[in-house]
Subunit: 416 residues, 2 copies
C-alpha cells in the first residue's frame, strides 16, 4: 500500500483508485464487448493495451482480453490476474511508462462506455450467512422458531437462478405470482405487492474444482477471482406462499443485479478484519481463524423517480457470520464441484447498525419507512431505483465496487 | 405411426426403433465427441452423414453436428429437429436411400462408442410434481403436515446444481456431510448413511425465452427439445438436517445422472395420456386440458456388485400430477427466462403402483427391502449400481430412453 499516486488524476472519493483496478467488460459504439480495467473515471481498454504490447510481460494471450466475458481471463488463475494488476499499477504510477505514452489510445471515459455482465455465470449459489438477517427474517416468517437449529452449525445455502442475473442498470420487471391473501385459504395471482431488494456480496469463482474432491478452508480463496455487489431482488408475498418445503423459487428467480466491476481479492487484502465470534465452534472442516472478513462499508439508497435518493441502510460486510472460506468449503464438502464463472453470494447482509432489505426495515411491511421526499415505503414502487454501493477505506487508500442499480418497472410486457 | 420397418434390423425390444431416433453425443477412439442418433444397436454418425450430404435437405449447417453438445442443434428449434428425424426415418426405411448406400461409413456400433453428457446444461430446476411422492415423503419429514397447503395450487420446485450433472455410467462418490444423529442436538460429520436415488424425467429446453415475458401453457412445448431419464441422487440424512428453511443443498448437489439419449417430444407424441384429475382447479395460468402426460413405463433396478439386478420399482410417468406445460408456465410466470440447455426435471416419480426412491420404499430407512441375492437394503451400499429404464409401447411400436446407470463408490479420494 505504498504505491505513489497515478499520473492519471483519480478523485480521492473514487472507488477505482490505483489500489483497486477491478476487471469488467465494456463496449463503445458498435464495437464488441471486451475486457477493461477501471481507473478513476476511465477504463483501460485491455484489448487495445494488450495488442499494443503493454501487457507483454504478463505472459497472457491477447485473446483473453478480446472476449465478451472475464471467464477466459479468470481461468488463468489468480496469479495471472495478480501479474496484470501489478503491471498496470507500475505503468499507472510511472510517468515514463508505455501505458502513459499510449494513454490516448487505451483510456476510454466511463461516461461513453456501456458496461456488460462481466461473467458468464454457471451455477449461482446464495448463502444465508448474516446472523442478524437470519434472525430478523426468521422472526417474521416463523415467530416461534426464528433461528433454526442448523444455522450456527453450517452456512445455510440454496441454489439460485443464473439465467436472470443482469448487469447494473437493467430495469427490473415487477413479477407476477401466486400469493395467499391474509386469512385466505386459496391463493390469488397478481403482481407482487412486496417487492424487495437484498444487499449482498457475490464471490466469483475463478478456478475449477474436481467433482468428488472437497476444497478445504485453507485452499478456498485460491478458487475465488474476485468480488461484486449483488442485489438479489425478492418478492416477499410470493416467497411466503411458495417457499415450503423446498425453498424460494419464483420469489427470487425473476432477476438479480450484479455490479459491473469485479474487485480482486488481492485489492481487498488490506481491509481484512475478524468476523463475529462463532459459538458453538464449527465442525473441523469449517474451522478458520484470523482476520478473514472484509471491512467493506455498504449502503443502500432508494431513489424514487425524479427526486433525490434516500440512504436507507448503512452497514458493513464485517458482520457476516460465515466467511467465504467457510462457505466455499461447505459448498464442496459433499464433493460438489465448482466451475469458473460460478457465483457464491453471501445472502442479505444486515448488521447491528443496518438492515439489508425492506422486509427487515419495515418489519414485514408493517412499519413504513419515510423517504426524504416525504413519501413512505413498505416495499418498492414503480419507478423506484435501488442503488447499492460498497467501498473500503484506510487512510488515503480507497477501494470500492462502484454501484449496482436497478429501477422497478410495473406492467411488464406480458403479451406473450 | 405407419412407418415401414427399417432396412437396418432393430430388435423388437429395442428402445431405439425407427419411431424414436433420439439425439446424443458420442465419440470413438481418439476422435472428438460429435452428434449421433441412436437406431437399434447402432449410432448414426450425424457429422459424417451431414458431411457426405445425407442431411442436405434439412437445411442445417454441418457444424451443428460436429459440436460436442446438442446445444447448437437444439437452438435451431423443434422444426429443424423434426425435419432431421423425418429425413432419417425416410432414409432408414427406403432401401435405395443415400443413407443405406453409405451405411458402412455412417453407422457406428454402440458397443464401441463412448457416450457423453449430451447437453451443456445451464440452469437445472427440479420440480416436486408427483402427488404420491410428495405425500409419502411429507409423511416421513413432517408426520403432522405431509402435503403442504401450496402443493395442489402450484408446481413446487427449486433450483438444483448443474455442475455436478454427469452422464450415465459415471461412478457416484458417496458424499460426506453434516447429519444430526437421532436424539442428538449437535451434528456430526460423516459419509452419508442414507444414500438414495430419485427416479425422474428431465425436459431439455431448446429455445430461449425472454426475461420478463412469461411463456403460456399453450406455448410451453415449443420450448422443449426433448426428454431424458434422470437420477437425482440424494443423501437423506444430510437433507433432513440442512433443508430448512431454504431447501436441499449438499444433500442433492454432489451428483445427478442423465441418460445419454435425448428423446424428442415428437417421438413421444403418440403416447400421450391424460394426467390425474386436478382438484382444486388450478389458477388460469396453469389450466390445461386433454392428454398431456406421457404413458412411459419406468423401472428402477438395484444391482449389487457381481450379482444380478433386482427391479425395485415399476411405475409410469402418467401419474405425474403437474404436467410439463404447467411446470414450464409456472417457472416463467415470474418473468424468469429459459435458455437453450436448461433442464427441468419432474422430481421423483412415484405412482399408486411403485415408489421412485428408497426413502419411500423403506419408509425412511425403517423397513429394508430384500434383493434377489438375499441381501437387504435400506439405502445404497458400496458397489451398488442403480439402473433406471423407461419406454413407451403401443402395438409393435416401441420408443424408449435406454438406461441411466450409476454405481456407488465409497471412500472417495478426498486427499485434496
Amino acid at each position: 500500500m505504498t504505491l505513489p499516486a497515478s499520473w492519471l488524476p483519480v478523485a480521492s472519493d473514487s472507488d477505482f483508485s490505483v489500489h483497486n483496478l477491478p476487471f469488467g467488460v465494456f463496449s463503445t459504439g458498435l464495437e464488441q464487448p471486451r475486457v477493461g480495467v477501471a481507473i478513476g473515471d476511465f477504463i483501460i481498454d485491455m484489448s487495445t493495451a494488450a495488442q499494443l504490447g503493454v501487457m507483454s510481460e504478463a505472459g497472457v494471450a491477447v485473446s483473453v482480453f478480446q472476449h465478451p466475458t472475464l471467464n477466459p481471463l479468470m481461468s488463468l488463475g489468480r496469479p495471472a490476474a495478480r501479474r496484470i494488476r501489478e503491471i498496470l499499477q507500475r505503468q499507472l504510477t510511472q510517468t515514463d511508462s508505455f501505458l502513459h505514452k499510449l494513454a490516448a489510445e487505451v483510456l476510454v471515459p466511463q461516461a461513453i462506455a456501456q458496461l456488460h455482465l462481466p461473467v458468464a455465470i454457471g451455477d449461482y449459489t446464495d448463502f444465508y450467512s448474516s446472523l442478524e438477517h437470519a434472525t430478523q427474517v426468521g422472526q417474521l416468517f416463523r415467530p416461534n422458531n426464528p433461528l433454526l437449529p442448523n444455522w450456527k452449525h453450517l452456512p445455510v445455502a440454496y441454489h439460485g437462478r443464473s439465467s436472470s442475473i443482469v448487469v447494473s442498470g437493467t430495469p427490473i420487471n415487477r413479477p407476477n405470482g401466486q400469493v395467499l391473501p391474509m386469512g385466505a385459504e386459496v391463493p390469488i395471482f397478481q403482481p407482487t405487492q412486496a417487492l424487495d431488494y437484498e444487499l449482498e456480496l457475490g464471490f466469483v469463482i475463478g478456478k475449477n474444482s474436481k467433482l468428488g474432491v472437497p476444497v478445504s478452508v485453507e485452499e478456498a480463496e485460491e478458487y475465488i477471482f474476485g468480488c461484486v455487489l449483488f442485489n438479489d431482488w425478492s418478492a416477499r408475498d410470493i416467497q411466503r406462499w411458495e417457499y415450503q418445503p423446498l425453498g424460494p423459487f419464483l420469489s427470487k428467480n425473476f432477476a438479480s443485479s450484479l455490479s459491473p466491476w469485479v474487485v480482486t481479492l488481492d485489492a481487498l487484502e488490506t481491509f481484512r478484519v475478524a468476523g463475529p465470534e462463532q459459538n458453538p465452534e464449527p465442525l473441523p472442516y469449517l474451522r478458520t481463524s484470523g482476520a478473514l472478513n472484509f471491512d467493506l462499508n455498504l449502503e443502500v439508497a432508494i431513489k424514487p423517480q425524479d427526486v433525490s435518493e434516500t440512504v436507507v441502510c448503512r452497514t458493513s460486510a464485517r458482520y457476516v457470520y460465515w466467511n467465504i472460506r467457510q462457505q466455499l468449503a461447505h459448498h464442496t464438502v459433499s464433493g460438489c464441484n465448482l466451475r469458473v464463472g460460478d457465483l457464491l453470494a453471501t445472502g442479505t447482509i444486515s448488521g447491528p447498525d443496518g438492515s439489508g432489505c425492506l422486509l427487515e426495515l419495515t418489519e414485514g411491511g408493517k412499519k413504513p419507512i419515510r423517504l426524504t421526499d416525504g413519501t413512505e415505503r413498505t416495499y418498492l414502487q414503480h419507478g423506484d431505483e435501488v442503488i447499492m454501493r460498497g467501498h473500503a477505506g484506510r487512510g488515503d487508500v480507497r477501494v470500492g465496487f462502484g454501484e449496482v442499480r436497478g429501477s422497478i418497472l410495473d406492467s411488464p410486457e406480458s403479451e406473450n
